[in-house]
């Protein structure tokens, strides 16, 4: 059986993005299919945050190709914003508003389709907001506290609640586990898994392979503003010396099939960059 190829969620080819005069992204080649969970790794300054921000259409791509969710970022990068959710280092929260008000403000701007009455729309938003806050464990009193007085972990949870409430097609998470306690990390992992199983695509930047290895289909290494290596989680776990769990194996196999041929010169630096990955979206071979 052969399904028609779906366009990839993220398609970057030789993308260069500038921050001032500095090339934050210096020729990125990346293809992410819909529904995939991809982890970006790399040293500080490698360009992970810039790549996520570029996917959100926040920084302009000055050359190369960049198409996210079907929107060409080079011609109009504002169109894609409604459909993506970015969880940055610092949550985009207003200090004087409570967590609930913050989530509400972020969600209200979503235009729900259909001619529904204002009251029912407002009620729908309220429901979404309280569900999201409950999900992240901020129901009750923390929801009514001004964001400025929340702890860093709680702020991160509130920012996650924004994402959950908005339910975007593409999740962009910038080091989501950093600064979180064990319980919050578990929550983060669960949320990512739920989002992925609901069909969203997830791009995660992380320094902590132990947290992400159970979530990801693929690991992409960024270095010097470029993608230098791609590995499936099976390979990564082999490197880490852990016995591959059945689950991850299954996922690894699926992603290998889904992404087609990938010429991988393992261990060879520099050669990978030159190769054109013949990935044309998810060609699902069932």
């Amino acid at each position: 059986m052969f399904r028609t190829p779906m366009p990839p969620a993220v398609y970057f080819r030789a993308a260069v993005a500038l921050s001032g005069r500095f090339p934050a992204l210096a020729g990125v080649d990346l293809v992410v299919s819909k529904g995939e969970v991809v982890v970006l790794e790399g040293a500080n300054g490698a360009g992970k945050t810039s790549l996520l921000r570029a996917c959100a259409g926040l920084i302009p791509v000055s050359s190369g190709e960049a198409v996210v969710l079907g929107c060409d970022l080079r011609s109009d990068r504002t169109a894609v914003r409604r459909r993506v959710g970015l969880l940055g280092h610092s949550g985009a929260l207003y200090d004087e508003l409570t967590a609930a008000e913050n989530v509400r403000f972020a969600t209200c701007s979503l235009r729900s389709g259909g001619a529904r009455s204002r009251r029912s729309r407002s009620r729908e938003v309220s429901d979404r907001v309280s569900e999201a806050l409950e999900r992240v464990g901020l129901g009750g009193r923390p929801a009514r506290t001004p964001a400025g007085r929340l702890s860093a972990g709680q702020r991160r949870r509130a920012a996650l609640a924004v994402l959950i409430a908005r339910d975007p097609e593409l999740w962009l998470l910038d080091e989501p586990h950093a600064g979180l306690d064990a319980e919050a990390r578990k929550l983060m992992g669960e949320t990512v898994r739920e989002a992925a199983s609901a069909g969203a695509t997830v791009l995660l930047a992380s320094h902590e392979p132990e947290e992400t290895v159970h979530l990801a289909d693929r690991f992409v290494t960024l270095s010097g503003g470029r993608v230098t290596r791609e590995r499936t989680c099976g390979e990564l776990m082999g490197n880490l010396g852990e016995p591959p769990s059945g689950d991850a194996d299954e996922r690894a196999r699926e992603s290998r099939e889904a992404t087609g041929e990938r010429g991988e010169a393992t261990g060879e630096r520099g050669e990978i960059v030159g190769e054109r990955r013949e990935v044309i979206g998810g060609i699902h071979v069932a």
Partner: protein, 223 residues
């Protein structure tokens, strides 16, 4: 667009209500400017009375400078600036919302300053209608230009020094028109017909409101 404007205006005003920065810092600053002028122009009340309309408008101008800065300082806290763009709000709506919130704050300050020149400078009002129209039109124009320039410099480190240089020359006509219009409305100064000046203020406000709606979107992308 209108819905987003309402959202943003509500958000800005709610933040102001909670943080009270405009009421506890900007308003006293505006009154302080009036006091400083009084110190500069001498204890004799006549020159103060003569200059009262002009001093009112200069104080309003300075207050609008500070308030515009504040309006965008709120957005820079911890990545909130990204939020307005990320959440897909209509930029024209964001502009109108911010202008509305800024207008409300400036009108409150204007009321305070008006009372100030009546009490401190001994001015007497003989035509409330013109006074109010001039004040409203002038402040709408100030808020529009202030929001535009505030957005332009919001991401920059040098914003505190750049904003006055950019904003004040552009709103000089408001100071001019407002002063002349108020001169007509205050009993104690030479009366000159305020008609053309009111027109000037209204035209200025309309032009900058329209310009802002059109250009705020592209401008936001520049951060």
């Amino acid at each position: 667009m209108w819905r987003d404007a309402g959202l943003v205006a509500g958000k800005d005003l709610r933040i102001e209500l909670r943080s009270r920065v405009v009421s506890t810092q900007v308003a006293p600053f505006a009154v302080l400017v009036l006091v400083l002028f009084a110190i500069a122009l001498g204890p004799d009340p006549k020159p103060l009375l003569q200059a009262a309309p002009g001093l009112f408008w200069v104080s309003v101008l300075f207050a609008s400078l500070v308030a515009s800065q504040r309006s965008f300082a709120v957005e820079s806290s911890e990545g909130a600036r990204d939020g307005l763009r990320l959440w897909g709000l209509d930029p024209a709506g964001v502009f109108l919302g911010k202008v509305t919130a800024l207008c409300t704050e400036l009108l409150a300050i204007g009321l305070l300053l008006g009372a100030g020149i009546v009490l401190l400078y001994g001015a007497r009002i003989h035509s409330y209608g013109e006074l109010v129209v001039a004040a409203v039109a002038g402040i709408v124009g100030l808020a529009s230009a202030g929001t535009l320039y505030g957005a332009m410099v919001s991401g920059l480190r040098v914003r505190e020094t750049l904003l006055p240089l950019l904003l004040l020359p552009v709103v000089a006509p408001v100071a001019l028109g407002g002063t002349r219009a108020w001169q007509g409305a205050l009993a104690s100064t030479q009366a000159s017909s305020p008609g053309p000046w009111l027109q000037l203020l209204i035209i200025f406000a309309a032009v900058y409101l329209a310009l802002g709606v059109v250009i705020f979107g592209p401008l936001q992308e520049a951060s």
